[in-house]
């Protein structure tokens, strides 16, 4: 039972994070809040990726002079590499998005997404 919870807590937690983020994105009107939601989703998915590569009781996959053969119980290193990349991308997008938000505020004097509707139909 505990095992089960432990295994699924990462999983469920991360999915929950994503859902919370998604909820934020589709309910909040404020652009900043929407981007907070997007960040939450990003974080959630990163947690999910890391948790997928987790091996119970594993150690960091770093080969040193003492740990130099495959018999050790390594955690899968690839998801961690992926998450690093993903974080970088997420940050880039976030930065760009916030930059755009600043410009939007200058132009429209509002952050309410439902009022920024110059392009429609």
């Amino acid at each position: 039972m505990i095992d089960f919870l432990e295994k699924w807590s990462f999983f469920g937690g991360s999915v929950l994070l994503i859902l919370i983020g998604l909820y934020g994105v589709i309910t909040r009107k404020n652009l900043i809040k929407i981007f907070i939601g997007l960040s939450l989703m990003d974080t959630g998915i990163n947690v999910l990726l890391v948790s997928l590569g987790y091996v119970e009781g594993g150690i960091a996959p770093i080969i040193t002079s003492t740990i130099n053969n495959n018999s050790y119980n390594f955690v899968d290193p690839i998801p961690q590499a992926l998450v690093l990349t993903s974080i970088v991308i997420g940050v880039a997008v976030l930065a760009l998005g916030l930059g755009v938000i600043i410009k939007i505020y200058e132009k429209y004097n509002t952050l309410d997404i439902s009022e920024i509707r110059g392009l429609r139909w």
Partner: protein, 623 residues
């Protein structure tokens, strides 16, 4: 010269000329006339060389080579001859008539492409080649129609192209259903395959194949494009549109009815008086076309619209005659096809000449032009005599043969419709005659002159043809019998000036000589009486009133009002309205989507994503 080049010479030369036009000041109309004259000469030399080998071009399309076949048969010869002939006459006509027209160069480009593509359609030896050139024909004619000077030209061409495209897509669907079964497009193979299929399947395929042709021919449920296109097209193109383009649709119908012998395929199915029900329905559509075209033509106030509706009704005759599939019907249909091309081109050309001088198409804005434009009037008069089917012109002969064919089989309703159209045609052809050429001359038309000689020339040629074929129908019958042989139809007996019908024999020489006699007698009596004094048109009986305004003294607007009153409710319920409503509903649906989906709110878009994912998940769950 290879058959292939006939289709490409006009197209290529047109393109080159179009792009050189700016650099070197050349008149595309003259160039086109020269090219068409050359083609016409070459084609006339092809007569009787039916055993020219087929030519093929291979085209790698799916995972195999597809052969595009070109072949020459008497039937295709007839059409290419007519096409280049009409093209030549119209090109000569345009040399002078388009001096002030802005879109000249695009007109001539598209016109040459159109000629080339029609040659391609009729020289094609398989359905894919036919389809390719058919599409080019549709598109070039679309551009020609939309280059009309009126604003309504664009809407009219729009209707034309949408309807044509729907037809073309039906055809291509049917073709590829067949292709996937037999992997070829050849006429003979397709015909053989169609006759081998279960009857319902082959009927559906044939209907899909036939609809584009029927649309192009302007037959009843699809005639809605014809009037708009004809009346709004450039005045020089309307003759070709009516004279030739509609006939290309008929070519397709002939192809399906006789070359792919529909009769044989459907012989075993339900039939009416020995005629397969499909043919009979087609004939009924032809019959409705005749009636609708006639009634609507009588109502028109715009001369080009009037003649356009008359074209619709004449197409009905041809379809009716061809659909009944007897030797006489076939002969009558083809004869009428040729004759209609000749006299309808004449009518439209004479009207183009009138428009060239008066700049209007409303009949009530003209009048009394007979003294100003006698040649144009004569051309119009002779052409309408032919159209109304009055002897001794060619129009009567073909109608006579069609009546013979209809009565022979006892198709009473069809014959009544045919007569209705014929008598109705008196009414509608007389209306322009009376309101444009006769009656009071408008003061603003006081200084009008006859059109230049280059515009008269085509009219003279066509007038001569009307009379020539009226007296010597054997010239046409010779070719028609060769076509009949090709299509395994029993030829109709004929000599140079007589045709044998089902109930009698037509002898044009006798009739012509009696005509001359009758007229001579009348003329002698007339001459021998006292010479009369010429007075002006305003010098007439006015019940004692003093009239000084020729405008008010010209009976032109709503010429047949009592008759129109009978059909007012009929005309209000037009098919055009139904089609338009359908199209508008689709547009409304689109607007609904647009207003409700594309709200411009980024959040809504995000919500769509979530919704989409949820739906996907549910759907994935279900399967």
């Amino acid at each position: 010269m290879s058959l292939f080049y006939y289709t490409f010479i006009p197209i290529v030369i047109a393109f080159i000329a179009y792009f050189l036009n700016k650099k070197i000041k050349l008149s595309l109309a003259i160039l086109n006339s020269v090219v068409f004259a050359y083609l016409f000469y070459q084609i006339s030399r092809l007569y009787n060389q039916w055993n020219i080998p087929h030519e093929t071009i291979s085209y790698y399309m799916f995972d195999r080579e597809i052969q595009l076949i070109f072949q020459l048969t008497p039937l295709s010869w007839l059409f290419i001859f007519m096409t280049t002939g009409a093209g030549l006459l119209i090109a000569i006509f345009t040399i002078k008539s388009q001096q002030e027209y802005v879109l000249r160069s695009s007109f001539h480009l598209n016109f040459a492409i159109l000629i080339g593509s029609i040659l391609g359609v009729v020289l094609a030896g398989d359905f894919l080649t036919l389809f390719i050139f058919w599409e080019i024909m549709t598109w070039s004619s679309f551009f020609l129609i939309s280059s009309g000077e009126k604003k309504a030209a664009q809407k009219a061409s729009y209707r034309y192209i949408i309807l044509s495209t729907i037809g073309a897509y039906l055809m291509v669907t049917a073709l590829f259903i067949i292709y996937n079964q037999i992997h070829t497009f050849g006429y003979n193979q397709v015909a053989a395959h169609l006759s081998g299929l279960p009857i319902t399947e082959s009927i559906i395929l044939i209907i899909m194949l036939a609809i584009p042709f029927i649309i192009k021919a302007g037959v009843f449920p699809f005639h809605v494009w014809v009037n708009g296109a004809h009346s709004n097209a450039p005045k020089e193109f309307s003759p070709f549109l009516s004279g030739l383009m509609l006939k290309v649709g008929i070519y397709g119908v002939i192809l399906l009815l006789y070359f792919v012998p529909l009769y044989n395929i459907l012989k075993e199915s339900v039939n009416y008086r020995g005629l397969p029900i499909f043919n009979y329905i087609l004939a009924i559509f032809g019959c409705i076309t005749v009636i609708t075209g006639t009634i609507l033509a009588i109502r028109q106030e715009d001369v080009k619209r009037l003649v356009a509706f008359s074209s619709i009704s004449q197409m009905g005759y041809i379809i009716m005659a061809l659909a009944i599939s007897t030797p006489l019907g076939f002969t009558g249909g083809l004869l009428h096809l040729m004759n209609h091309m000749i006299f309808k081109t004449t009518i439209f050309l004479s009207i183009a000449a009138v428009i060239y001088r008066t700049k209007t198409t409303k009949m009530s804005e003209m009048g009394g032009l007979i003294f100003k434009m006698p040649v144009t009037f004569t051309a119009y008069l002779i052409a309408i005599i032919a159209l109304a089917g009055i002897p001794p012109t060619n129009g009567f002969i073909s109608k006579w043969v069609i009546y013979q064919a209809l009565i022979d089989k006892g198709y009473i309703f069809l014959s009544v419709a045919a007569f209705f159209g014929s008598i109705g045609s008196f009414m509608y052809v007389f209306k322009p005659l009376s309101t444009i050429f006769l009656g009071q001359l408008k003061p603003e038309h006081e200084n009008i002159k006859e059109v230049p000689f280059l515009m008269q020339l085509p009219m003279f040629v066509l007038m001569a043809l009307i009379l020539l074929f009226g007296i010597l129908p054997g010239l046409q019958m010779n070719l028609i019998n060769q076509i009949s042989q090709l299509l395994n139809i029993q030829p109709v007996g004929f000599t140079l000036y007589s045709i044998t019908g089902a109930f009698g024999k037509w002898n044009s020489l006798v009739i012509f000589s009696l005509f001359v006699g009758g007229f001579l007698l009348a003329f002698i009596i007339f001459i021998s009486a006292k010479k009369s004094k010429q007075v002006g048109l305003m010098d007439t009986y006015t019940s004692g009133e003093y009239m000084d305004d020729p405008e008010a003294y010209h009976y032109a607007y709503q010429y047949f009002r009592p008759f129109d009153r009978v059909f007012d409710s009929f005309a209000a319920r037009s098919l055009t309205v139904i089609y338009d409503t359908f199209a508008q509903n689709i547009v409304k649906l689109g607007n609904l989507f647009r207003k409700s989906i594309v709200t411009g709110n980024g959040q809504t878009y995000a919500f769509y994503m979530v919704l989409f994912i949820v739906i996907l998940a549910f759907a994935g769950w279900i399967i």
